[in-house]
Each structure stands twice: as structure tokens, then as C-alpha cells.
Symmetry: C3
Subunit: 129 residues, 3 copies
């Protein structure tokens, strides 16, 4: 298992970690890589890598789904972030062939920050086929 560190810069932001993950598994063989986020106000998702407006649209749509000002009980005021984290999920699993993650042409792996800016960790595990 490897650990990546990610410094996020805004409250909500999607940080591209595709290359970092690819580098870690480059000497692995065939199998799958699990990218896991050990935080409860951040998640991880796979989406379009090419046009950055897709990420902005995803942030906007999630904000409309779970507005920060819902009548939440949790005193820290970040329950919207907890909810968005569960909607995106805490891990993604990507098949790997000869050390290369089999992402589609337009796919990238994004750390999904919902309560930043913070210093975050990402745990990367290779599972052999």
C-alpha cells in the first residue's frame, strides 16, 4: 500500500491524481488498483479529464443536490460535505494490465474535496489478478 498526499486549495474542488496513481502501479503486473480516501468529508470519483468545465459542472450539480444550508443537526456545519462524500464514494477500483491502469480515453481519477482547504491522504493498493 502506498500513500499519496494531496493539498486542496478551496472548500470544494476536484484534484486530478491520475498520474500519481499510474506512477505507483507502473511496475505492478495485471490486476486492479484500489484508490481509497480515509476521510469523511472527501471522496474520490472518475470523470472527464479533458474539459475542466465538466468538473465545475459536477461541483455545481452536487451543490444543488446537497446545499450547505439544509437543516442539518451536526454542529460542525459540514454535513453537506459528509453527504457529498458518501454520494461520490470513498474508493474507486480500476483494472490494471501490465502496470497500466485501464482508464478510458477521457477518464481521470479525481480526489473530491468537499470541506477544504486541507492536507489530505489517499491510500493506493494494488491487487493482483
Amino acid at each position: 500500500m502506498w500513500t499519496l498526499e494531496v493539498q486542496t486549495r478551496q472548500r470544494v474542488s476536484f484534484v486530478d491524481i491520475t498520474r500519481d496513481v499510474a506512477r505507483l502501479v507502473a511496475d505492478a503486473g495485471d490486476g486492479a488498483v484500489v484508490v481509497f480516501v480515509p476521510h469523511t468529508t472527501a471522496g474520490v470519483t472518475i470523470n472527464e479529464d479533458a474539459d475542466p468545465s465538466v468538473r465545475a459542472d459536477l461541483e455545481m450539480a452536487l451543490e444543488r443536490l446537497v446545499p450547505r444550508d439544509l437543516p442539518f443537526a451536526h454542529a460542525e456545519g459540514n454535513s453537506d460535505a459528509h453527504t457529498k462524500a458518501s454520494l461520490m464514494g470513498s474508493s474507486v477500483t480500476v483494472p490494471v494490465v501490465a502496470g497500466t491502469p485501464q482508464l478510458g480515453t477521457w477518464q481521470g481519477i479525481y480526489f473530491a474535496e468537499f470541506d477544504g482547504p486541507r492536507r489530505r491522504r489517499v491510500l493506493v493498493t494494488f491487487l493482483p489478478a
Copy 2:
């Protein structure tokens, strides 16, 4: 790793790929199968296999969650599809015992198309326990 091809027929549709996945791992032993979608406007999910109205309801609920006419920036006009793809997720992982996916009685694996009709691929990987 195996590749399945899926031809979708509408803009939004859930295509049952349970049997295709089961056939691929039939000679595998114990472990888990990862079903991965290498696209950014489609995902994969597990839901009820028995009554097709559940799939129609799921499509309707997702359409209400992320309407196509939100004020999106991405010029291709399919940001709703990107968002729905991240909400469903890009992979499912199902335990396998003696070559049989351990799905529940009512569960099926669905390719979730959100910007079809298109010719799509699904990557299937068996990970031994």
C-alpha cells in the same frame, strides 16, 4: 481482464449485463469480480432484476436529481450525464465463490447509459481471494 461490448439504444437506459459477467468468471475460483466502465457519461450499478419498473423509476429519480437543463458550462450539453455517471460510480465489485458471483436473489448488474445511444465497453477483472 475481459472486455464486453454493449450497444445502448436510448439516451438513458439500464442494460442488464449480469449473465455476461457470470459467464466470464464461471471458471474462476473464489475471489471477487470488478466490473469497470471506461466511459465518463455512463456508469454501472447493481439493482433489482425482477420488476423492470424499478429501472424506470431509477432513471426518473436520477433525471429529477440532475435535470439536463441545469445551468451547466460544458459545451457538449451532457454534463447531466457526467454527473449521473459519478453518482452511480464507474465500477461494482461482487464476491465470487467457486466461479459464481454472490449476487442476492433480486440483484442484477446494470450498465447505466446516460448519453446514448452509443457503442460501449465494459472491463471485467477477476481478483482471487
Copy 3:
């Protein structure tokens, strides 16, 4: 593969299964544990373990996202539960080092019941690295 049994007590509730999962993999080495729910009106998610109000907020936010009274077609009247199950997902995958799931400080694994009370099962599989 191991099976856990979970008895849920309300229609919607998040049941903490972190310790049960940890106990099962305690003698495993390095790899990842897949926690899979073989039901279509329940899911599994990882979220905050410390303050129970986070779980209540998550339930409330999901209820607002997918109200029970949407114009659903499925005759059993639980299509909201099917939708929430797909939004949370049917499995989580957590890295394991020397038999210890590498959850973050505040993370717990929750069985997410959306159509209880019911007697449910959870399938737990360890995949070696």
C-alpha cells in the same frame, strides 16, 4: 468469504458494522476487504463514526434527494429505497495492512438500510495484495 447478519430496526437506518468487519480480517495479511450487500433496497457506505448526528443528517439529506412520494411506477412502493441503494452503492473496498483495515480516524463502515426493518446479510471478502 464470510457472512454477517444485520437486523435493522427502522425503515431507514445506518448500522455500524466496522468492528464486525475488522474482526473477520484480523488474521489476514495485506490486501483489501470488500464489504458487499446482496440486497436491492439497502447499501453500504463509509462515513463519520464519532458524532451520530452525521448519520441523521445523511438520512435526512437522502430523504430530500429521493422523497418516498415521487411518482414511481414500481408497485411495492419502495422505489425510493432502490434509488438510495444505488446512490450509496452495494459495496465498499478498504485497504488492509497486517490484518487492520486502514480506515481514517473518523471513518466507520455503515450498513445503509432504506426499506427496513429487515433481517439482512453482508458478504465480506478479503483480497490479498
